[in-house]
C-alpha cells in the first residue's frame, strides 16, 4: 500500500460520486417543486375555511367544510409522502459520500502509521 495506489483506488471509487450527487440533488429539487405546488393548493382551500370563519364566526360551519377538510388532509398526506422521499434521497447522498470518506480515512491512517504519507 502506498499513497499512489490509495489515490488511484479512491479516485476510481468516487468517479461516479459527482454524477450521483447531481442526480440526487436534482431529484430533491423536483420533488420540492411538486410539494410546494401541493402545499399551495391546500393552503388555498384552508384559507377558504378561514375566510368563512372570519365572516360568519366559528360556530357556523362552512357548507363545504367536510369536503374541504378531507381534501386538505389528502394534500397534506401527499406532501408528507413527497417529503419522506426527499429525506431518503438526502440520506442516500450522505451515506454515499460518508462511505468513501470513511474508507479513505482508514487508508490515510494506515499510510501515516507506516510513515508512507508526507505530513500536512
Amino acid at each position: 500500500m502506498d499513497p499512489s495506489s490509495v489515490l488511484d483506488q479512491t479516485i476510481q471509487d468516487v468517479s461516479n460520486l459527482q454524477a450521483e450527487f447531481t442526480h440526487i440533488l436534482g431529484e430533491i429539487r423536483a420533488s420540492d417543486t411538486q410539494l410546494l405546488d401541493q402545499r399551495k393548493k391546500y393552503m388555498q382551500k384552508d384559507s377558504q375555511i378561514h375566510k368563512f370563519i372570519r365572516q360568519h364566526g366559528s360556530l357556523q360551519e362552512h357548507p363545504k367544510e367536510q369536503e374541504l377538510s378531507e381534501k386538505i388532509r389528502e394534500k397534506m398526506s401527499a406532501c408528507k409522502n413527497l417529503q419522506e422521499q426527499k429525506c431518503t434521497m438526502a440520506n442516500t447522498a450522505l451515506y454515499l459520500v460518508a462511505k468513501h470518506l470513511s474508507r479513505l480515512e482508514k487508508n490515510i491512517g494506515l499510510l501515516e502509521e507506516d510513515g508512507l504519507l508526507a505530513p500536512v
Binding site: I72, M76, C87
Partner: protein, 47 residues
C-alpha cells in the same frame, strides 16, 4: 505530490459530506414542519 493529492481529496470529500449532512438535516426539519402543520390543522378544527 501524491500525498498532497490524497490530503486534498480527503478535504474535498469532507466538504461534500458536511454539505450532504446539512441537506439531510434541512429535509428532516421540513418533514417535522409538515407533521406539525397537520397537527395544527387538526387542533384548529377541534378548537
Amino acid at each position: 505530490l501524491n500525498s498532497q493529492k490524497l490530503r486534498l481529496l480527503h478535504q474535498e470529500l469532507e466538504h461534500a459530506k458536511d454539505m450532504a449532512l446539512l441537506v439531510a438535516r434541512r429535509e428532516r426539519v421540513t418533514l417535522d414542519l409538515l407533521e406539525q402543520n397537520v397537527r395544527i390543522f387538526d387542533q384548529r378544527s377541534n378548537v
